[in-house]
Amino acid sequence: MHARYTWRTLSRETMLILLALLFLVPLVGLLNVSLKPQDSQTSALALEFPPTLDNYAQAWTQADLGAALVNSFAITAVSVVLIIAFSALAAYPLARVTRGWSRYAFYFVIGGLLIPGQLALLPLYATMRDLGLLGSLWSVILINVGQQMPFSVFLYTMFLRELPLDYEEAALLDGCGPVRSFVTVVFPLLRPVTGTVVILNAVGIWNEFFTPLLYLGGSDNTTSPVAIYGFVSQYVSQWPLIFAGLVISVIPILVVYFALQKHIIKGFAGGLKG
């Protein structure tokens, strides 16, 4: 890593930059086409003057993206908060208690990592239908929380096992009960892994298509990907209009990504060190 900058580094850098430009082509094309008039015949990367925002106005109202984005946001926020609360709580005894039941419970929960959601799909769908939860955001939230338990509990437990007991012992000497000790002492110490859990789950849930399609598709309560799916099938190959809708739907996640890229990349890399 202390090598000098040579002509070989320069050629390598040039190749990487060209590759990065290639990586950006789909994103630039997406933005460019969304700014063209709807009858445009020019190539995806050809600039057209003057750019128009008409597609955005039309896509916003036709696809009802405002309401869909609010739903996506609500589902993501509530799911992530519940995932954090449930998995951090559960990981505490799973990591600290060394008796048999604790180990078996841990394996029982992380065993879920190997079960694809498709296996539970239809019985779960029937249950949600019988409970009258089809079309309700709560169905999607509950499913997100349940499906994310194995991975999140796993991350928290592995982290807690490495965390020294000294802080908790100090809290105990200060007269803290286990609940207060967890909330005021242990949970704040879990911040690095909480960051990872928040990032991985928030990105995954925001982008998720399959579960909301099943439970919210056709209702008035859709999420952004489901709204986009309906919008695209309605306006087949009217690309400038469709692309404006796509841009609106990905702006929130891209803005968050470029603002927090350091933390997000770190979260993705960190979650997998397990």
């Binding site: 559960a90 190997l114 349940g146 105990l172 990872t196 986009i228 739907s249």
Partner: protein, 317 residues
């Protein structure tokens, strides 16, 4: 902003345990007095049982019945649903397509991800910007990325334009409309979208390799290639295992991009297990068939995970 490779390492204790309760050995001291109430597991366990365990068990059991999701009445039909799955053209095509897609995406995404990681781990000046760009597609909604690519790959799309511009017009093609290329066009999208994820994991692995090890190899006269083969690659084993596992499982569950790019067509050329499960249950209303297919998928994933586990264990031991 170096990418930390051990982001989930707990904070170190600053002061030694001067005031810790006395205990004869470290072993008994650990946990002495600190109580973690068992009932903390209840919320997680309850939602996990309700969403994952009970319906999965129900799914596995009802694959041997004619339960159609509506009537509470059902009867055992033995292996009939499985016989139906394996004698169905679409389901067989979906199985083969899914395995091909998962294998191709795993190989290509890991190669590209590793090359990108090696590239941005060097002294190039733009390495931080490059990382952010290569990783950006990872956070993009897969459905949306699929639509963008279906436009780029259309007969008059950017890919064909580019081929014509550089004089390779003969290769221009309806990539998603041709049954021979459609599946691999989807693989190309997956590789574009998720190579950055593999890159980040490989990068964490590369940065964990101590500089002394590489210097020692250089002193011993190892060239760039043999240094990579004999020193770097073995030390990246952990990253390879994680990446291959993630790619395989993601590929085997593939749904979003297929729905966006081809909807499973043309014909059944890009039908995957997930799209077939969705269609048989929610478009055709054939619950027993769909559930049996889901059990087959679970078995495929479990078997491949076990095989990978065995292979990597042999490698490390």
């Amino acid at each position: 902003m170096a990418l930390p490779h051990a982001t989930t390492t707990p904070p170190a204790v600053r002061e030694p345990t001067a005031q810790a309760p006395p205990g004869p050995t470290g072993k008994t001291r650990r946990g002495a007095g600190v109580r973690a109430p068992w009932w903390f597991v209840i919320p997680a366990l309850a939602v996990y049982l309700f969403i994952v365990v009970v319906p999965s068990a129900n799914g596995a059991l009802s694959s041997f019945t004619d339960w159609n999701g509506l009537r509470p009445v059902w009867s055992f039909v033995g292996l009939d649903n499985y016989a139906a799955v394996f004698s169905d053209r679409t389901a067989r095509d979906a199985l083969v397509n899914t395995l091909l897609l998962a294998a191709a995406a795993t190989v290509a995404q890991n190669l590209v991800g590793l090359l990108l990681a090696l590239g941005v781990n060097s002294v190039v000046r733009s390495r931080y910007v490059l990382r952010v760009i290569f990783f950006a597609p990872v956070v993009l909604t897969p459905l949306v990325a699929g639509y963008v690519w279906s436009f780029l790959l259309s007969p008059s799309g950017a890919v064909n334009d580019a081929l014509r511009t550089v004089g390779l017009g003969a290769l221009a093609h309806d990539w998603l409309g041709d049954p021979d290329t459609a599946l691999y066009a989807i693989v190309a999208e997956i590789v574009w979208q998720f190579s950055g994820y593999s890159m980040v994991i490989y990068l964490a692995g590369l940065q964990a390799i101590p500089a002394e090890v590489l210097e020692a190899a250089t002193i011993d006269g190892a060239g760039a290639w043999s240094k990579f083969r004999r020193v770097v690659l073995p030390l990246l084993n952990g990253a390879v295992v994680i990446n291959v596992m993630l790619c395989l499982i993601g590929g085997l569950k593939q749904f979003d991009q297929v729905m966006a790019m081809t909807g499973g067509g043309p014909g059944t050329a890009t039908e995957t297990i997930s799209t077939a499960i969705y269609k048989s249950a929610f478009l055709l209303g054939d619950f027993p068939f769909s559930i049996a297919l889901a059990v087959v998928m679970t078995v495929v994933i479990a078997v491949l995970a076990a095989v990978q586990f065995r292979l990597t264990q042999r490698k490390t031991s």
